[in-house]
């Protein structure tokens, strides 16, 4: 009963928005060439879905995201572990991090296109960078957050450095790393669309830009909503994984 209720609360605002939008559209309040009504967007969606155009472009974007995300997450976690564990490494690399991290993703795109061309590499690289920062910073703070009292326990039990890393430091860091991964994948998803809008001949971002040039607002909207919906889906999947992997960290909150 409670779940149904909470679901209702969640969907009520979007539903209301759609109804109002439809009413305005039907009565001609909105310019159909800028903001077509939901019925039109839905029929375009069905059409694009059936023709395979939407799925193909979405699939291409997703592949790019996953390639960039996996590389970025891997690099972020590995470098983060080293920076969290070693003061000298941290000192040496943190100046680099503070110089490069504030650069907005959009600013990277021209540089990367110059360096890597307009092919897949430049897009994967953009996503790589977008994923790297949140994963890196959260991994470092996760590693540093380990309770020295627990380290003392394992020292007293004469555990090796490697064992301490695997059994004490990493488990303490996982919640923070997951937060980084979640932020990373949403940044990655934003980055791919931006990169495809600037230079690409395929992908969901390209589909939107191309439709804009042809003045097809319904296609633009289908693309935009697909991006939002897929982003939501990815976040939900990672959230579920996190709950499964880190069940212990939810005990107090849920009284499980």
């Amino acid at each position: 009963m409670n779940r149904v209720k909470s679901f209702m609360f969640k969907v009520i605002a979007p539903l209301l928005l759609i109804v109002v939008w439809q009413i305005f559209g039907t009565f001609g309040v909105l310019n159909e060439h800028i903001l077509p009504p939901p019925t039109k967007v839905i029929s375009t969606f069905v059409q694009l879905f059936k023709s395979g155009k939407l799925v193909d472009n979405l699939f291409i974007s997703l592949i790019r995201v996953f390639r960039g995300f996996i590389l970025g997450a891997l690099a972020g976690v590995v470098i983060g572990i080293f920076m969290g564990l070693s003061r000298p490494i941290n000192k040496i690399l943190s100046s680099l991090v503070s110089i490069f991290r504030p650069i907005p993703m959009i600013a990277w795109i021209p540089i990367l296109i110059l360096g890597l061309g307009i092919g897949e590499e430049s897009k994967v690289a953009v996503i790589f960078i977008g994923t790297l920062w949140p994963v890196l910073l959260n991994t470092i703070s996760g590693i540093l957050s380990v309770d020295t009292k627990l380290i003392e326990v394992s020292r007293v039990l004469e555990k090796s450095k490697i064992e301490m890393l695997i059994k004490v430091i990493m488990p303490s860091a996982w919640p923070a790393i997951f937060t980084g991964l979640r932020l990373g994948i949403s940044t990655a998803w934003t980055c791919v669309v931006a990169a495809e809008m600037i230079a690409a001949s395929s992908g969901i971002g390209y589909m939107i830009m191309y439709a804009r040039e042809l003045s097809q607002p319904d296609v633009v909207l289908v693309g935009v909503f697909t991006i939002g919906f897929v982003g939501l889906l990815i976040d939900a999947i990672i959230g579920a994984l996190q709950k499964k992997a880190l069940g212990w960290s939810y005990i107090n909150k849920n009284g499980r």
Binding site: K149, S154, R155, V156, E158, K159, V168, P171, W248
Partner: protein, 261 residues
């Protein structure tokens, strides 16, 4: 177990000074103490007199400013699994079940099939049967402390240090745990060194009670407890020792010892 005579503990002229705020804080002063293998020793003293520091140095988490600490034939310089420790707080790993927390205490060279049995026995011993799969956050403070004791025991240390392990427990659980520790000690004959604020606890358990002075802590007096175990807390001899300890504590402060008994 084996060579019981080889793990005598010796403090030789141990001083500890902490740098604090640009100054030096003298915490322990010329500690000389020999603890025989298999002995049960309690350490009592005012808060802040350096009891935890003493244990931390013995277990190898900290080192003396002067003097040395010897266990068996090695000078303590870093932690070794032959000296175990139960900390004042339970310090369990929140991401591991009770079973796995206890298993973490077992030495790495113990075979897998034995590990299960060892954990099972330890869980029975500390009365946590039925909570094997629970996480620390799902246990009461006292149960967590019992799990922590079990984790220290399965490592089979020759010398076990206990830093106010029952401080957080209610009077009933405390007495139960004291009985458990006594049983374990009688069965396994490990050296046990207990820091406590509870004088009755010290008398109930120990062969000898070391009384530390106020900071900088030095050994004020060592009291032998020559009573047969299990000890009756209401017996006259028990009360006499209690009086002796209290006298040592507040004897020259002008307070009336009788009043505190």
């Amino acid at each position: 177990m084996g060579m019981a005579e080889s793990n005598e503990v010796r403090f030789e002229n141990v001083d500890k000074v902490f740098p604090l705020d640009g100054e030096y804080l003298e915490v322990l002063d010329t500690i000389n103490l020999n603890i025989k293998s298999g002995e049960f020793i309690s350490i009592v003293g005012n808060s802040g007199c350096g009891k935890s520091t003493l244990l931390k140095m013995l277990v190898g988490l900290d080192s003396p400013t002067k003097g040395k600490i010897i266990v068996g034939d090695r000078v303590v310089s870093e932690p070794r699994a032959d000296v175990g420790m139960v900390f004042q707080e339970a310090r369990l790993f929140p991401w591991l079940s009770i079973e796995k927390n206890i298993s973490f205490g077992i030495a790495n060279n113990v075979a897998r099939e034995n590990r299960q049995r060892i954990v099972k026995e330890a869980i029975e011993l500390v009365g946590l049967h039925g909570f094997e799969k629970a996480y620390p956050a799902q246990l009461s403070g006292g149960m967590q402390q019992r799990a922590s004791i079990a984790r220290a025991l399965v490592g089979e240390p020759e010398v076990l240090l206990l830093d106010e392990p029952f401080g957080a427990l209610d009077a009933f659980t405390r007495i139960t745990m004291q009985n458990e520790v006594l049983k374990i000690w009688e069965k396994e004959k490990r050296t046990m060194i207990l820091v406590t604020h509870d004088i009755d606890e010290a008398i109930f358990l120990s062969d000898r009670i070391v009384i530390l002075s106020e900071r900088p802590g030095s050994i004020k007096e060592i009291i032998n407890v020559d009573l047969p175990r299990p000890r009756d807390r209401s017996r006259q001899e028990f009360l006499n020792i209690r009086k002796k300890i209290l006298t040592s504590f507040i004897g020259n402060s002008g307070l009336d010892v009788e009043y505190y008994i």
